[in-house]
C-alpha cells in the first residue's frame, strides 16, 4: 500500500497526491510533509547539499517505517520519496504523504513518518559552502528525541 522511492530526479507533490488518491472517494484527509534544501546551515551560506544513501537497506528501512505507520494509524496509503545526489538550495529533498479517512490520523502519521525517516533510514548529507569547503552534517540530538516521542520501531 505504501509507495517508497529513492531517486535522483525531482518529484511533484501535486502528481504524487493525485497518484495516491486517484479514483478513490474513501480518503477524506491527506497529510503531507515536503522538505527542501535551505541555503543556510549553522549560520553559513551553502551552495549545495549532497545526499548519499545505502542502496538496498534504505528502501528496506523506508518500507519498515511505512509499514509501522500503517499498523499504528488507519491509513489508506502513504508515499515516501527521498532524493539523493547533489541538490541546490530551494530544491526538494523529501516528500511524505499519508492518506486516511481521519485528519488526525493523516497528520500524526505524517509527523511519525518524517521523524523516523530522519533517524532510521540510512541517508547522509554533506553541505558545500560558498568557499568550496564541504562538511558532513552531524546528526542532531533533537531528531533522535523527536523520533523517540513515537516509541520504538519494532525490530526489523
Amino acid at each position: 500500500m505504501a509507495g517508497v522511492r529513492v531517486q535522483r530526479a525531482d518529484f511533484d507533490i501535486g502528481a504524487e497526491t493525485a497518484a495516491l488518491t486517484a479514483g478513490r472517494a474513501d480518503i477524506g484527509a491527506i497529510g503531507s510533509f515536503l522538505g527542501t534544501v535551505r541555503d543556510i546551515a549553522g549560520g553559513r551560506k551553502i551552495t549545495a547539499m549532497t545526499l548519499e544513501h545505502y542502496p538496498g537497506m534504505t528502501e528496506r528501512a523506508m518500507g519498515r517505517i511505512a509499514a509501522e505507520a500503517e499498523a499504528r494509524w488507519p491509513l489508506l496509503g502513504c508515499t515516501l520519496i527521498h532524493r539523493v545526489g547533489r541538490l541546490l538550495p530551494g530544491e526538494n529533498i523529501v516528500l511524505v504523504l499519508a492518506a486516511s479517512p481521519h485528519r488526525h490520523a493523516a497528520l500524526e502519521a505524517t509527523g511519525f513518518l518524517i521523524d523516523w525517516l530522519k533517524t532510521a533510514a540510512p541517508f547522509w548529507k554533506k553541505e558545500t559552502f560558498v568557499d568550496g569547503s564541504e562538511d558532513w552534517v552531524e546528526a542532531r540530538e533533537a531528531d533522535g528525541a523527536a523520533a523517540a516521542r513515537w516509541g520504538a520501531l519494532p525490530p526489523g
Binding site: Y54, F123, K125
Partner: protein
C-alpha cells in the same frame, strides 16, 4: 577444510572518505565474531582504517542491512556496513 567466505564491508559518508574505499572484502580470524570485535580488528588494518574508525567518534553499524549493536554477531558471508549517525529527511 572449507574456506570461510569473506565478510563484505561497506563504508558510507565520512567513513568512506577516510578509509578511501566504499567497499572491501575481509577475512578476519574466527575469534572476530561480533561487530565490536570486527571494528577493533579493522582499525589495525591500515593507518586509513585507524583514522576512520577512531575511538570517540560515533559509528553506527548494520549487519545484512539491519541496524546492529557492538555485540551483534558477524560471520563470513555477512554484509557489514559502517557509517556515521544518519542525517536524512
Amino acid at each position: 577444510m572449507d574456506a570461510t567466505p569473506p565478510i563484505r564491508i561497506l563504508y558510507f559518508a565520512w567513513l568512506r572518505e577516510r578509509v578511501g574505499v566504499s567497499e572491501e572484502s575481509v577475512t578476519p580470524p574466527v575469534e572476530v565474531a561480533t561487530v565490536g570485535a570486527l571494528i577493533a580488528w579493522l582499525r589495525e588494518l591500515s593507518p586509513r582504517h585507524a583514522a576512520a574508525l577512531v575511538a570517540g567518534k560515533t559509528i553506527r553499524c548494520a549487519v545484512n542491512q539491519d541496524f546492529a549493536a557492538p555485540d551483534t554477531p558477524v560471520a563470513g558471508g555477512d554484509e557489514v556496513a559502517l557509517f556515521p549517525p544518519v542525517t536524512g529527511g
